[in-house]
C-alpha cells in the first residue's frame, strides 16, 4: 500500500475484491494473460481498421473493412478494460502513482477521444465510399494518430513493471 495515493484507491486495494484477486492462485495470472490476449484482438483490429483508413487494402470498399474491425476492436477494448480493472484493483495505490501508468491512462483518454470524436462521426459517410476512392485527409490523419497512440499505450502497459 502506497500511503500518498488517493484514499479511494487505497480503499479499493484493501477491499475484499482486491484481497481476493491477490490471494487467489489463479485470478491474477488469468487476468494478466487475458489482458495480453485481449490486446492482440484489440491491436489487430485497430491495425486493420487504421491501415484501411490510411489507404491500404484499397480494393475493398472502406466500410466493409472498417465497420467489422471497429466492432471487433470494441470487444477487445471491453475485455482489456475488464482484465485491466482486475490487475489495477490488486495494486491500485501503487499502479495509480506509477508515472508510466499515468502516461498510459492519459494516452487511453486521447485514443478514445480520437476514436469517438474524430473517427466516429465519419463512419456514416464512409458507407458511401467505393473501393479505390481516396479518403479525407482528416480521417487518414486520425487513423495515423490512432495507430501511434494505441501502440504507445501497449508499450506503456508493458513498461509499468519497470518503473
Amino acid at each position: 500500500m502506497l500511503a500518498e495515493a488517493p484514499q479511494v484507491l487505497i480503499a479499493l486495494e484493501q477491499s475484499a475484491l482486491g484481497a481476493a484477486i491477490r490471494q487467489s492462485v489463479w485470478a491474477y495470472p488469468v487476468a494478466n494473460v487475458g489482458h495480453i490476449v485481449a490486446l492482440t484482438l484489440f491491436a489487430g483490429s485497430v491495425a486493420i481498421m487504421d491501415a484501411r483508413l490510411i489507404g491500404a487494402f484499397a480494393a475493398t470498399p472502406p466500410a466493409a473493412i472498417v465497420r467489422p474491425a471497429r466492432r471487433m476492436a470494441m470487444i477487445g477494448l471491453l475485455l482489456m478494460a475488464l482484465t485491466g480493472s482486475m490487475l489495477f484493483t490488486a495494486e491500485a495505490s501503487h499502479v495509480a502513482m506509477n508515472p508510466v501508468f499515468q502516461i498510459k491512462a492519459s494516452l487511453i483518454g486521447l485514443g478514445l477521444a480520437n476514436a469517438l470524436l474524430v473517427a466516429g462521426p465519419a463512419m456514416r459517410a464512409l458507407d458511401a465510399v467505393p473501393a479505390f476512392a481516396p479518403l479525407p485527409v482528416r480521417l487518414r490523419l486520425s487513423a495515423l494518430l490512432s495507430l501511434a497512440i494505441w501502440i504507445s499505450v501497449a508499450a506503456c502497459g508493458r513498461l509499468i513493471a519497470y518503473f
Partner: protein, 123 residues
C-alpha cells in the same frame, strides 16, 4: 501510388520506428528499474508480517536499522522453488539479499532469501 499516400506511409513508418526505439531504449535501462541494483544490501532479522499474495509475496523483516518491506516472487514461483507460505511464516529468521527501492521508502526487492539454512532464488 499518389504522392500524398506515400508521404503518409513514410510518416507512419517513422512513427512506428520511433515508438519501437523509444520503448527499447527505456526497457534496456534495467529490468528491476525502480530498485537500485548498483548497491546490493542484505537484510537479516525476524519476519514480522507475511503476505503470500500475487503479484508478489511480501514480508516485513525487522532488520538492525529498521523494518524492511521485502518484495519476493509471484506465489506460483515461490511454491515451485520450494518456498510456500509456511516457508516465510511470521517469526522465522530470514536473510534477504537484494536491492532497495528508489521510489518507496523501506522497501527492497529480494534477489534471494535464506531461511532455516535453505536459499531460494526469487528471480
Amino acid at each position: 501510388m499518389p504522392t500524398e499516400e506515400m508521404t503518409m506511409l513514410r510518416l507512419l513508418t517513422l512513427c512506428l520506428v520511433a515508438t519501437a526505439l523509444g520503448a527499447a531504449s527505456v526497457a534496456a535501462h534495467h529490468g528491476w528499474g525502480s530498485y537500485d541494483a548498483s548497491k546490493p544490501i542484505t537484510v537479516e532479522g525476524p519476519i514480522t508480517s507475511s503476505k503470500f499474495e500475487n503479484p508478489h509475496a511480501l514480508i516485513a523483516v525487522k532488520g538492525k536499522d529498521k523494518v524492511w518491506n521485502v518484495v519476493l516472487a509471484p506465489t506460483t514461483r515461490m511454491v515451485s522453488r520450494g518456498a510456500p507460505a509456511a516457508f516465510i511464516a511470521v517469526g522465522k529468521t530470514v536473510s534477504a539479499y537484494g536491492y532497495a527501492s528508489t521510489r518507496e521508502q523501506d522497501e527492497m526487492r529480494a534477489e534471494r532469501i535464506t531461511i532455516d539454512g535453505k536459499t531460494v532464488e526469487m528471480r
